[in-house]
Symmetry: C2
Subunit: 277 residues, 2 copies
Amino acid sequence: MTIFNKVAIVGTGLIGGSIALDIKKKKLSRRVVGVSRHASSLALAKKIGAIDLGSRDLAILKGADLVILAAPVEVILKLAPRINQIIAAECVVTDVGSTKAEIVSKLSRIFANYIGSHPLAGSEKRGVGNARTGLFKDSLCILTPVKITSALALKKVRLLWQQLGAKTVLMDPQAHDKALSFTSHLPHISAFSLMNSVPAGLFKFAASGLKDTTRLASSEAQLWADIFFTNKKNILDAVGQMERNLVLMKTAVRKNDRKKLISILKAAQKKRDKLIL
Amino acid sequence: MTIFNKVAIVGTGLIGGSIALDIKKKKLSRRVVGVSRHASSLALAKKIGAIDLGSRDLAILKGADLVILAAPVEVILKLAPRINQIIAAECVVTDVGSTKAEIVSKLSRIFANYIGSHPLAGSEKRGVGNARTGLFKDSLCILTPVKITSALALKKVRLLWQQLGAKTVLMDPQAHDKALSFTSHLPHISAFSLMNSVPAGLFKFAASGLKDTTRLASSEAQLWADIFFTNKKNILDAVGQMERNLVLMKTAVRKNDRKKLISILKAAQKKRDKLIL
């Protein structure tokens, strides 16, 4: 099903590249073009068949009817006004950032047909070299319309994600950032902090547990710094919750309080069983 | 290669059952018997071919030349004197517990031919129903001899683990407990605390990151309470380290200190790359 004439991906990394691959494979657009600061990323994106044409110049966006912003938040915010001068007013714009309140507030005022997206899929792996088809199949994609969001943007972007196999859900940007601070941002902070707490000299005594628990610590530093800074208050609250739970466990251990410790461990076990249902 | 005449497994759960399966498969012992408090566990162990015979009565240990203690630490400590009255003096005894200082100190004084083992393999899954052959292949097994450990115990138990495919390493029990507090016990505490910090109502917004980071929270509560209590001081130190790292991240986020935050995230990323090498 062809939904678009020309889709432009700004930021041909893991997410941008994976979206482009699926659009090409499912023929959702007549053409797919890519923009990146890195010529090597564009060359690779073209080689794997994710884009028809790549350029480091934003002028390539001209004539697009969908622009997907998949670059780091800071870069998107910097480029947005220039992009808006190049694209037509009826062009639909979305982004795939992991925090939404700040970016939705800003981009909604710049673009006439913008809606925020957050596909809950991805990987700690980086770059278009790790892009793959089907990344969004059976995943959830949160769309964050606000009062001034156009019906066109919502309709077109929702249809795109559904065609990529994602289930879409609508959410207020603030509620999104609060929820994700617990389900995504806190696990990352936990993984980064745990990794920094384990002396490298002891790695030979590590089994799969440490590897799994720290997988997210391989995530891209610049990207995650952006996420933490653009969701500061919620993240500080979530980390506070984690700190309180660590203290609860420490206290139970220190006091030899078996009953309390068992109740903490069983509560966690029960929640995890629910999580993986 | 037949190394033993009669191996007895006390505690036919995931670890005990997996050891038994491999001993049978590789014909390392003429007979394998199992002891458990749970008749259902013994029946299943027999059904899957892990043991030749099971009993809830310790008398079945009579005549064993190797006893593997794979029950919870508290249970092992309680049963040890009775087991010692049933087995012959030359019978080799080992355990598979995750902390070693306390249990090695106690069991070394009870059994004439004892050495502590800690196979760094396992799963958050529980019970003999999850036992499998090859669980220890290419894993590390730490043996913790002390001054009074007999050469016979070291030789026989090392040979057993090597036959199961594990690489063996010798370590002082105290050094073992210090190292494992970071590489295994802290990741568990982190997973339990993280799981308890995420409201269950938000699970629909969780992707694979939260699932992986909390996998260890499915671990058995009684077993892990024992581990935390028998390695209290090291664990409190390790959790303290994690708390300091959380505060470092929080402070960098709160102060908008991008340079500091990036350096924290990159340090973690670099360590993780080293961990999975």
